[in-house]
Symmetry: C2
Subunit: 401 residues, 2 copies
DNA sequence: CTGAAAGCGCTTACAG
DNA sequence: CTGAAAGCGCTTACAG
């Protein structure tokens, strides 16, 4: 055992005296006394001879080279709970309880709120995170950064997270099979959960993420033992295939990039099943990429064949738009000569210029389910391990009817 | 003065003894001794009779209901610097220095790195933020959430921020004239800087942000006394106008939504100046919105007039695409009958389907300049107060030549 | 180069 | 309901 002598108690005593004074009405809790309170605090912090902490304080105060108080009287976020406590004549604990979910008397709450108002106090979320139950941060791992569908997902998710009063730490992950150092750093912020957006990330990365002690969810991706939500891609493929078959098409092609992402495999499987049920083969349309050019070129190749297809089902809308352009180049009438069907229902698909028929994932429902899973962990529930599949809708516009 | 007796020193002594043992070679710094070290730590934390902190610890340990050690041997991020220090036989300070920019001897660094490796230690960024110079967080205030150009900006900025080893806290701001509570909360995370993306946010919001003690920058917006970067919109407007004039157009319209955003005002001013220099008037094309439909309808109205324009300069590419569609509806040849010019050069503009001529902001240069400003504040420089204008380029494709 | 101590701004049992 | 104390996981002068 060792005894240590701590000399900050004088400040404590001053504070207690002041509290008594405020309560007895000898001093009012006004801005003026607030300044007074600050003077007391300061004297506590740097007794003569000036103690080391004074040096340290000023350095930190300096670090952003801004005054403690804004020119317009609003305070910067440097006001601390102690300052509020001093001005209100209560303890720091009371202030904490008042801003947290603790019990505070009406009178105390009133004083604290008034003081906070005056000083412009807002609790430091970082300090809160260090000691509290959670950080309020949700890390969004953006795997497919140039997928316009993911753009949509990201925006809706950002809105939903803000709505739930959480914060989004957005991390662009440029590697597919490993985590970048930048991502690792972002993960050091103790996010309450991680959401992997998009289907291109490898199972290995998912495995790495599972090694962390943070719940991980996936959006638009299945497998890897992670919970999450996804569009029922197989169902979507089946819906598309069935629709084309029923509208009398016989030479039906599926256009996609060769790479076997999970979403692609499933859409294709459902599609193939639908054609097979009708005794039809799947014509192959291989694209260089999953973008406009890819769709354009794959369709061009198909249209140049001796027996061109009478229907195209494209892995996504952008490719379908490329295919649409190819059809125009070949002077094919859409949908009379060739039906074109996309997937995703990006905003552009609905533009009158295109009138693209497509399979629309129920994005809002997916986001809703994901948010529910996310919020469950704040209730102390263990992270889900299953992927919730959400059924898409067929949107019939002009390009396939 | 008050004397306080602190009983944690026993743990300290044990630690010191152990350090000596490790150094003298009596114990090796292996995984096994690592577990041993943890046992010591544990005994320090809960001496018999079990002290209160044991309770508190277990609660916090429980809070995520995960074991201290993953099934595959990887550690969760719950390993602390103290554990590494114990295993390496050094002080917590040494570990901190090793992961920070402090001075550490080669041997010490080796031991610490080995121990960290074994335990899977990564410094807790939140704790670091609380005590360190900065948080490494950059708040991105996303004002125009459905502007596809801002999508592009956001992605590039996310990449640049990750590249600079900073983290992006992305905040969707749905209100134009005030900050939402959600945004206020996000700002409580002590971001090192705030970047306002997009031009639609009001000066009042900018004023509120300036009240915080965090440097604020703006992207694609001028005024309000905030530093930042923006496309030289006036110059862009002038380039567009001059180009149309020089290609022989005489009845030139400017299409935009009536609302007077800053970018709109400037583009229009430059454009009008170019036409005026040629003695030409600006034909007005008023749109409902700044999207595809808006462009389509405004163009439709212009084409229906007794003397339709022979050139359209649109506020942005999406509107220009709408106008292009309107031209097709009117069976107008582009560019022979009517030239169409956009602004932004979104990826779609370059698709062969459109071949949209447009004014291209130099996005990479803008991002580069913004990042430079952002990084300056980490050097202790005061936030810049001026907006750097970056000159755009004219991209001539098929719709105006 | 190194360790002990103090501190960052909060929260949370604990004991009134 | 309230305050004093301990603690969250780090960093950083300070004094060797």
């Amino acid at each position: 055992m060792v005894r240590r002598i701590i000399n900050e108690a004088c400040g404590e005593r001053e504070r207690a005296e002041r509290r008594a004074a405020i309560r007895s009405g000898r001093i009012g809790a006004s801005l003026t006394t607030g300044l007074h309170a600050r003077a007391i605090t300061a004297s506590r912090r740097s007794p003569e001879p000036p103690c080391p902490c004074a040096r340290s304080r000023s350095r930190i105060g300096d670090r952003r080279m801004r005054p403690e108080r804004g020119k317009d009287g609003t305070m910067g976020s440097r006001v601390t709970a102690q300052q509020v406590a001093d001005l209100a004549g209560v303890s720091r604990s009371a202030v904490s309880r008042c801003f947290g979910d603790g019990q505070v008397s009406e009178e105390t709450r009133r004083r604290i709120m008034a003081a906070s108002q005056t000083l412009g106090y807002r609790p430091n979320a970082i300090a809160r995170s260090l000691t509290g139950q959670n950080t309020g941060l949700i890390a969004l791992l953006l795997a497919e950064i140039d997928n316009p569908y993911i753009d949509l997902v990201l925006k809706k998710l950002l809105l939903a997270i803000a709505e739930a009063d959480k914060r989004a730490l957005v991390i662009p992950e440029t590697r597919q099979h490993d985590l970048t150092g930048s991502t690792m750093h972002a993960l050091d912020y103790q996010a309450d959960a991680i959401v992997v957006l998009g289907g291109t990330v490898s199972d290995h990365v998912v495995e790495q993420l599972r090694g962390l002690d943070t719940p991980v969810f996936q959006f638009g991706r299945q497998g890897g033992g992670l919970g999450g939500v996804a569009c029922d891609n197989e169902m979507g493929g089946r819906m598309g295939g069935r629709f084309l078959v029923q509208s009398g098409r016989r030479r039906i092609a599926y256009i996609t990039k060769a790479a076997a992402t999970d979403a692609n495999r499933r859409r294709r499987a459902g599609f193939a099943a639908a054609l097979e049920a009708a005794g039809l083969p799947v014509l192959e349309g291989v694209a260089q990429d999953n973008g406009f050019e890819g769709g354009y070129q794959a369709a061009t190749r198909l249209f140049s064949a001796p027996e061109p297809p009478d229907a195209l089902f494209c892995f996504n809308d952008i490719m379908a738009l490329g295919a649409l352009q190819a059809a125009a180049t070949f002077r094919l009438r859409v949908p009379e000569d060739v039906a074109i069907l996309g997937f995703d229902d990006i905003p552009m698909a609905g533009w009158p210029a295109f009138g693209l028929s497509t399979v629309r994932p129920n994005l809002d429902l997916q986001i809703g389910k994901l948010m529910a899973m996310l919020l469950e962990i704040y209730e102390g529930a263990p992270a889900r391990r299953t992927v919730d599949l959400v059924q898409p809708d067929l949107v019939v516009r002009r390009t396939a009817a």
